[in-house]
């Protein structure tokens, strides 16, 4: 006998739950949604050489789904057309992944809370570059020093 699971419509992903964010792609402003929690699974499959070898059409389908996970259908279709255009210089696969990561960064707090409920770290969080970390610490220290100085004055 198979175990039956019922998806709870109230706790599932709803792309309209969080406010959208405008994002400029090569001069044009698009509207992005908070990505679905399964976006990392799609991105991981994009790196699965064995699966891609078995199904050469899979990357195109995956990129289309990745775009759809953050953009509305029309915008996702437009970006996909540009991506597949060999004459297009700006919208490349690397650029699309960069855009997706920017959107994920914007929703980092919400995504982290979602993943924490599942007992995992946010797979979309980027490793902090040491130079950035140093700059952030220096900025924090400078702000703290300013506050201390203001209190003493």
């Amino acid at each position: 006998m198979a175990t039956d699971f019922v998806l709870d419509a109230d706790t599932g992903y709803d792309r309209n739950e969080l406010p959208t964010v405008p994002i400029r792609v090569d001069g044009k402003v698009y509207t992005a949604h908070c990505p679905k929690d399964s976006l990392p699974v799609l991105m991981a499959r994009l790196n699965d050489a064995e699966q891609i070898k078995a199904d050469p059409g899979m990357p195109e389908h995956l990129v289309s789904q990745i775009l759809l996970s953050i953009f509305d259908q029309d915008d996702a279709d437009e970006l996909m057309t540009r991506l597949l255009d060999m004459g297009e210089r700006k919208v490349t696969l690397a650029y699309v992944i960069h855009v997706v990561r920017l959107v994920a960064d914007h929703y980092e707090t919400d995504l982290e809370a979602q993943y924490a409920e599942m007992g995992v770290d946010n797979p979309l969080r980027r490793e902090e570059v040491p130079a950035n970390r140093q700059a952030r610490r220096a900025k924090k220290a400078a702000t703290a020093a300013k506050k201390t100085a203001a209190r003493k004055a």
């Binding site: 198979a2 998806l7 599932g12 929690d37 399964s38 699974v41 409920e117």
Partner: protein
């Protein structure tokens, strides 16, 4: 697609192979590895995604992943988490968090668990996950001194985490290599050996 899969073993957890489940009536199945150490590895690392969707049967993979990628479908990683935890007892014979704690404890003290397993004619190599968990429970049980400690250890293993921890499950106190080493030396001393 072929006919809906039937689970052959109707009594107790499965050894491996086909594990059917449905999501809102839609048929799916996992192809569960027969080597329990693979599954114990997933549990130790807390990677339930390696089970669902990672172990989906090839017949259902494409459709399941399509649903994961559909922004208008409620089937997402949260649902995968729910399914993985829901199927855990059919795979490990114990809840997911208990499998994680037992696996972490065994992995951290493999030397002692392995020795115990050999002395009890249990071979962990290639054993199904539920047999590994049963052996781990028996090994843990063999180390406790009295009923009070047995109750404490059982609580530590089976208490559901609140909320589900973000970290890897820690081995249980009293079962670290150092503590096991001390217990082993004490046992050897009591037997008059151990040079």
């Amino acid at each position: 697609m072929s006919a809906p899969p039937e689970r052959l073993a109707a009594f107790g957890p499965i050894d491996g192979g086909l594990l059917p489940f449905t999501v809102d009536g839609q048929q799916y199945a996992l192809d569960v590895p027969y080597d329990g150490r693979v599954l114990a590895g997933f549990a130790t690392a807390g990677t339930w995604t390696a089970l669902v969707p990672g172990c989906l049967h090839a017949d259902y993979e494409a459709q399941f992943y399509d649903r994961l990628g559909d922004p208008h479908d409620k089937l997402g990683l949260r649902a995968c988490h729910h399914i993985a935890l829901g199927l855990s007892e059919e795979i490990f014979g114990v809840p997911w968090w208990a499998a994680a704690r037992l696996s972490a404890t065994v992995l951290e003290s493999w030397r002692y668990f392995g020795a115990w397993a050999v002395s009890h004619n249990f071979d962990p190599s290639g054993a199904p996950a539920h047999r590994l968990m049963s052996a781990a429970l028996a090994w843990v049980g063999s180390r406790v001194q009295d009923e009070k400690e047995a109750r404490r250890v059982e609580t530590e293993i089976f208490m559901p985490p609140k909320p589900m921890g973000k970290r890897r499950m820690k081995a249980m106190p009293g079962f670290s290599p150092a503590e096991q080493d001390a217990a082993f030396k004490a046992a050897m001393a009591a037997l008059g050996g151990g040079g």
